[in-house]
Amino acid sequence: MPSSSDMPSDAPAAETEETIWRGRLDCAFAPVQTIFSDCLAVARARWKDDELAAYMEAARLLCKLGRGSEPVLAFLEGWPEVAQQVGTESLEMVIDWVKKIQRTVNGNILGAFFQALPQLSKSLSSPELLQDYLELLTEVGQKSSASIHGHHTILPSQSLPVLVHRAPDLLQQVSLRGLRAWTEYGLRHYPSNPERQADFFALQSADSRAVFQSQRGGVLLHRHERELDFYLRALWNDPEPLIPYSEAFDLLRKAQPYLNAQGLHIPDIREDRLGVPGLLQYHLILAHLAAHRRYSQSLLADNLSPFLRLTVEFFEDARIDTLLLQRFPGLRGPLLALHPHPREEACDPERESCIRHRLTMLSRAILDPQHGYRNPILRHFVERFHTHFENANTHSMVTLATEYLSQTRLPSDAFAKMFFTDTVTPYRDDNRHLWRFVDADEERDDTDVKSNPAMDAETALIFHYPEWDYGNQSYLPDWVSLYEHIHPSGSAAEIERILQKHAALAKQLGRLLDQVKPQDRERLRRQEEGSDLDLDWALRSWIDYRSRQPADPRIHQSFQPVRRDLAVSLLLDLSASLNDPVRGNPEQSFLALAQEAVTLLAWAIDRLGDTFSIAGFHSNTRHEVRYWHIKGFSESWQDAVRARLAALQAGYSTRMGSALRHAGHYLSGQRKDKRILLILTDGQPADVDVSDPEFLIADARQAVLELQNKGVFCHCISLDPHADDYVRKIFGQQFSIIDRVERLPEKLPEIFLALTK
C-alpha cells in the first residue's frame, strides 16, 4: 500500500499536510498512529476540508474519552463508509449521542458501537433512521441499567452490549420499527432480571424468538399453511406434511428447503424477492419438491465424486424444472426471475473454483432459451439435454453429467475458494433425497418423548393461545398452554339424587320449558301459494268473488317445521374459591351449589333438544391451564356425562381468557344460527404468575371481543355479589349477578331460558 515515503514527488506537501492533521488529531495510541495515514487518504479523497476537519475533531474527542483506543480506531476506519450511507452531516448527531452515553454507566459500549456501525448503516440508510436507532440505544441503556435505591444507576446494562452486537444482523431481518417493538417487549417483561433480559436480547429465549418472528416482514408460512396444503393436494395430489425451519437464527449456514421421510421442510418466512411475491415463492418451492417426488429416482452416492454429485444435482434440477414448466407454463416468468443469471465472465478460473458458476449457467441455459451464453460446450450440452429430454430420467442425467464434467474439468475446480455469488437458486432444495448411502448406519432418532408426568400429556390435548397485553396493545404470541382432559368420573347416581331433590323445581321448570319449546310444525295461513287450500279464507274470497268484490288471492295454507337452532356451551370456573362455604350455610359449598345448578340446567337444555356442551377450567400459571371436558356437543345427556358432572372438583386459579378462547374455538365450529357461551364464575380472573389485576381482566375482555367477532355470544353468570365492576369491564352488559347464591339452581335455568326465548 502506498505510504507517503513511496511518493517522492509530492512527498513534502503530503508530509506537511499529514503532520498537520496528525497534530490536530493529537492521539498517542500506537494502533491509531499506524492506520492514520490510510484513513486520511481515504477521507481526503472523499471530503472537503471542513468535513475532514469535523471527522478529525470527532476522532480527537473519542481519543480523549478515556475508553481506550478501540472507539477511535473503529471510528477512523468505519466512518467513511458509514458517511456514504447516512451523510457526513450525521456526524454531529452521533457525537452528541456519544457525549451523552459517555456520561452514563454504559459508556463502555462505544467500541462495539463503532465496530458495528458500518454494517448497520446498510440497513439504516437515512439520518432519521440512524437518529431513531441512537435513541433506541439510549432508552435501552437507561431502562436496563440496574440501580440501587432507585435513583442512581450504578451497574452497567448487560443487555445493551448484546443488542449493539446483534443489531446489524437483526436489522437485516426486521425494520427498525420491528426492532423497537421487540426491544420494548424485552424491557417490559424482564425489568428485574438482567441475566434473563440479556438472554432475551441475544435471542436465546423462546418468547424472544416468537416476538422477533412476529416482527419480521414477508409472508409467514403458518398464515398460509392450509393454502399450501391445498396446493400440494390439488395440483400434485401429494399431500405431505409441511415442516417449517427458520432462517433467522442460523446466520452462518443458510438453510435450503429439503425433503425427507418426515415431509417437506420449507422456510418459515419468505420475503418478496426480485419481484416474486413470497407466496408464489412458496408455490415454486413446493412445486419443485413435489416434482422431485414424482419424477426423480434415488441414486447410489458412494461411487460418485463430490463434484460429479454436484453436477448431477444441477442436471437433475434442470430436468425437474423443465418438466415443471411443461406442465405449468405460467410459472416460467417467476421461475426465471428467481433463477440466477450469472455473467459469463463473472468468475475467474485462475483464482477461484468456478464449478458452481459453470453449472448455474448451464442450468439457466437449459431453462431459458434467451440465455445469451456463448460457450460452445455449454451450448452443445444444452442441445443434447433437449434432444434426449423425452426419454430422460435421473439415471440418464448421471451419464450426461459425467460427460459434461469430464469435458469441462479445470484444475482450479479443487481450489478452496469457491465462487458462490449468483449460484444459489432460492426455490431449489438441497437434493439430499437423491442420494442413497450404502454404508450409512444411521442411528434412529428416539422419537418417544417422555411425557411430562405432571401433566399426563398422553390423555391431554395441548393447545396454545395468545394473551392480550393491554399495556402494549398487542398479543403475546402462544403465551398460554392449555391442556384439555376428560373430566374424571364419579357416580352418576349422585346426579339422579340432585334431580330428585329438586323435583318440585324441575316440575316448575318443565312448565316454563313447554312455553319455550317449539312445536314441530307451524301452520302459515293466508298464503298466496301453499300446499293446501285454507278453507276459511278460500270461502271468504269465493263469496267476495261471486259478489263482484275484489277477492283476496291469499287462500292457501302451508306448513313449516320450527326448531330452535342454537348451540350452547357452559363453562364452569373450577378455581379453588369454589370450595368456600356459602354464607349462612357452612355445610354447603359454592361447588355443590354450582353442581346442582348445572345439573338442572343440563336437564332443561336436554329436554329442549338444543345442542350443548359443558366444560370446566382452572389454571396454575400460564404454562398450565386445564380445561376439563365434561360433555361434548355430540354426546347425549347420558350416564357417562352425569358421572363426570358428579365428580366436579375445584382448585387453582382463574385464567378466564384462555378458557373462553378454547370454549369459543369449539363453539364456533357448530353450524347454528345462534351460539351461546355461558360462563359461571365466582370471582375475577386471577392467576399466581400475574401481579397486575387488570392484566387478566383486559385479556378476558379481549377474548370476549374475539368471540363476538366470530359470532359467539358470551354471557357471564357471576356468584360474586361485588362483581359489577370487573364483570361489566369484561362482558359489557352481558352478565347476570346472583346475589342470593342459594337460589342458583333455580336461577340458572331461568336465565338461560330468558336468554334464548
Binding site: R226, R233, P329, G330, S531, D532
Partner: protein, 270 residues
C-alpha cells in the same frame, strides 16, 4: 281438447349432445323395456340430466322434469284443487300428468325434497304402477309408456338429507362420475368449439379442484362449469379471467382455496 296432446311441450325434438362414458345407453334402454324405475347418481354437473334428456330423445318419449326443492310438497308433485269461475277445479301435478299420459318423469335432486313428499312416488315404483290421488278420490293407473327417473347426488348432503332405504330400494341405479380427462376434453371441444390445446388445461384445473373435495370444498368443478368457462374462452374472454369467473368464484368463498385455484390458473395458462 281431444286433439290436444298434453305432452306436446315435453317432447325432446332435437338430439342433445351426449358423450357416452360406458355402456349406460344400452343399460338404460333395457331398464326402460321393463319400465324399471331408474336412479342416476353422481356429483353435480357431471351430465346426469343431459343423459336423461338424451335417453328420452333416443326412446322417443316425452320428458317431464321436476327440480325438487325443500319447500316442495306432495301436492306439488301430485296436483291440487284450484279455484276458478265455477268452483274448484283439479289440476294435475307433473307426476300425475306423466303417469296419466305416458312420459318419463325425471325428479331432479330428489333428496332436496322433503321426505314426506317423496313417499308419494312409492306406489308408482313397484308392481302396482298406480298413483292414488287421495284428495281427489281417484286412482291413476300408470300409462304403459310411463317411467320414473330420479337423480341423486350422494356427495354433499348431510345425514339428514339422505334417501330412505325404502325409497332407495325401489330403483335400479347408474353411478356417474366426471368423465375421464380425454372424454371431458372431447366434450368441451364438441360443445364449445374451444381449441384442443386449451381444453386439457381446463380439465386439469378441474381435476385440481376435485382433489380438494372434502377439504373445504363441497364439490369439485363440474363439467357444466367447464363448459361455461370454455364458452367464455371461445367467445374471446382471456382464459385466466374466464376461469376465475366460471370456475373459481362460483364454487368457493374460502380464501385459501380461492388462492390455491387462482395460482393453479396462473400456472396452467400463460
Amino acid at each position: 281438447m281431444k286433439n290436444h296432446d298434453p305432452l306436446q311441450d315435453y317432447r325432446v325434438d332435437r338430439e342433445p349432445y351426449y358423450q357416452p362414458q360406458h355402456d349406460e345407453i344400452a343399460l338404460f334402454t333395457a331398464a326402460y323395456e321393463k319400465r324399471l324405475p331408474v336412479m342416476v347418481k353422481g356429483p353435480t354437473g357431471c351430465g346426469k340430466s343431459r343423459f336423461v334428456e338424451y335417453m328420452a330423445w333416443k326412446l322417443g318419449k316425452p320428458l317431464i322434469t321436476v327440480a325438487c326443492n325443500e319447500d316442495m310438497t306432495a301436492a306439488d308433485l301430485v296436483g291440487r284443487w284450484l279455484l276458478d269461475a265455477d268452483g274448484t277445479r283439479w289440476l294435475d301435478g307433473p307426476l300425475t300428468v306423466a303417469a296419466r299420459h305416458g312420459a318419463i318423469c325425471y325428479l331432479d335432486e330428489i333428496v332436496e325434497a322433503r321426505q314426506d313428499s317423496t313417499v308419494v312416488i312409492h306406489p308408482l315404483t313397484d308392481h302396482r304402477r298406480q298413483l292414488p290421488l287421495d284428495k281427489k278420490g281417484e286412482l291413476v293407473h300408470a300409462h304403459i309408456d310411463f317411467q320414473l327417473v330420479i337423480s341423486y347426488n350422494p356427495g354433499y348432503q348431510s345425514l339428514i338429507k339422505d334417501l330412505k332405504q325404502s325409497t332407495k330400494q325401489r330403483f335400479t341405479a347408474f353411478r356417474f362420475d366426471y368423465p375421464t380427462a380425454d372424454i371431458e376434453s372431447e366434450v368441451l371441444i364438441r360443445e364449445t368449439g374451444i381449441s384442443p390445446e386449451i381444453a386439457p388445461r381446463l380439465v386439469e384445473l378441474a381435476e385440481c379442484a376435485r382433489r380438494l373435495k372434502g377439504h373445504g370444498l363441497d364439490e369439485g368443478i363440474s363439467t357444466r362449469l367447464l363448459v361455461y368457462a370454455a364458452q367464455l374462452i371461445a367467445d374471446g374472454v382471456p382464459a385466466t379471467r374466464a376461469c376465475r369467473m366460471a370456475l373459481v368464484d362460483p364454487i368457493t368463498d374460502d380464501e385459501d382455496i380461492r388462492s390455491t385455484l387462482e395460482h393453479a390458473i396462473d400456472a396452467l395458462f400463460i
